[in-house]
Amino acid sequence: MGFTLHIVHGDQLDSQAIAADLPLLHSLARTGHSPIKVGCKGGGCGVCKVRVVDGSYAAKPMSKAHINDNDKAEGIVLACRIIPTSNLTVVPMSTTTNE
């Protein structure tokens, strides 16, 4: 079973199927053209940062160099470290660090 991902690009909304048992980024990377940047896939490099504006997920540890507690509270996460538990709506973010 899977979920649907909605990605906000400005005022455009793209949708695609994602797996329920894989980190979000891993689902997207499998297609070969992920709309979110693919880096280390391990929560360390920060290039896959997104803001989840709707939906729920389970999160694995993410590097504090890229995601602090405030970020987490605002739904800012690393796509390679969240496993969806519902349909998701996300906004891709810049790839800069927030150290």
């Binding site: 693919v38 880096g39 280390c40 896939k41 391990g42 929560g43 360390g44 490099c45 290039v47 694995k60 540890p61 993410m62 590097s63 504090k64 160099a65 390679c80 790839t95 660090t97």
Partner: protein, 306 residues
Amino acid sequence: MKKGVMRPGHVQIRVLDLDEALDHYRDLLGLIEVARENDRVFLKAWTEVDEYSVVLRQADTAGMDFMGFKVLDEGTLDNLRQALIDYGVAVQDIPAGDLPNCGRRVRFTAPTGHNFELFATKNQTGKWGIADRNPEAWPRDLKGMKATRFDHCLLYGDDIDGVLDLFVEVLGFDLAEQVIDPENNKVGIFLTCSMKEHDVAFIKHEEKDKFHHASFYLNTWEDVLRAADLISMHDAPLDIGPTRHGLTHGQTIYFFDPSGNRTEVFAGGDYFYPDQKVVTWEVEQLGKAIFYHDRQLNERFLSVLT
């Protein structure tokens, strides 16, 4: 000119989850777990004579804490410590035992922001799994890729000229290979303290203290291909390869640990003698310099760091 720095002795890598990291470094890469203490695990590659070379530390960020070089003896350590001070580098003296079964270490921060240390003494347990008299060719019960040694690190940082001067003038490294831009500025430097083409390398990058990869040696290209098979079997994130580097000409594959730190295993590569001219690659040829077959840079190589 050599000043008694022998080889990369250890690297401490931050990981987000120790057990997941062991699955990578021990079971996939094939390092041997030798000790655990609180939030750290100590591992070695089987051909190394010292007790350990890789330290994994559980932390809330990924990246490299420090890289240590082993020097000839305690007298050499004193000389190099003084040379660093005379050069104007602040040193921190870390007492023996801070790393288990390791002598005193002299820590300093390089102009690129990376922490390095020198040490002369570490408990020698010998090559793993074979005797030191009449040794067999290799131990039978190695795991995964059977990495033979911790070989080098590639680090990204801002002050390439500064770190080059320090490593050459104070620590006695030689510049084996370099990448230069059209204005002759150095954007990549490959430094050696041995007959290897590099023991540590730096690439220019706007942020300080970034970790690109720790690299481990395999004996043959066949072993690199086998490593590629294991990466797939293990479902580990592949970065790029198997391929060959133009720089150093090593045969290589890159992949990521479960915290996003990059690992390289490689075979072959050129050798170095101090009378050799610096090998130069032009930045316009950077794609070929890094990935000799594709001749194209993937953006990830330059931007995905911990």
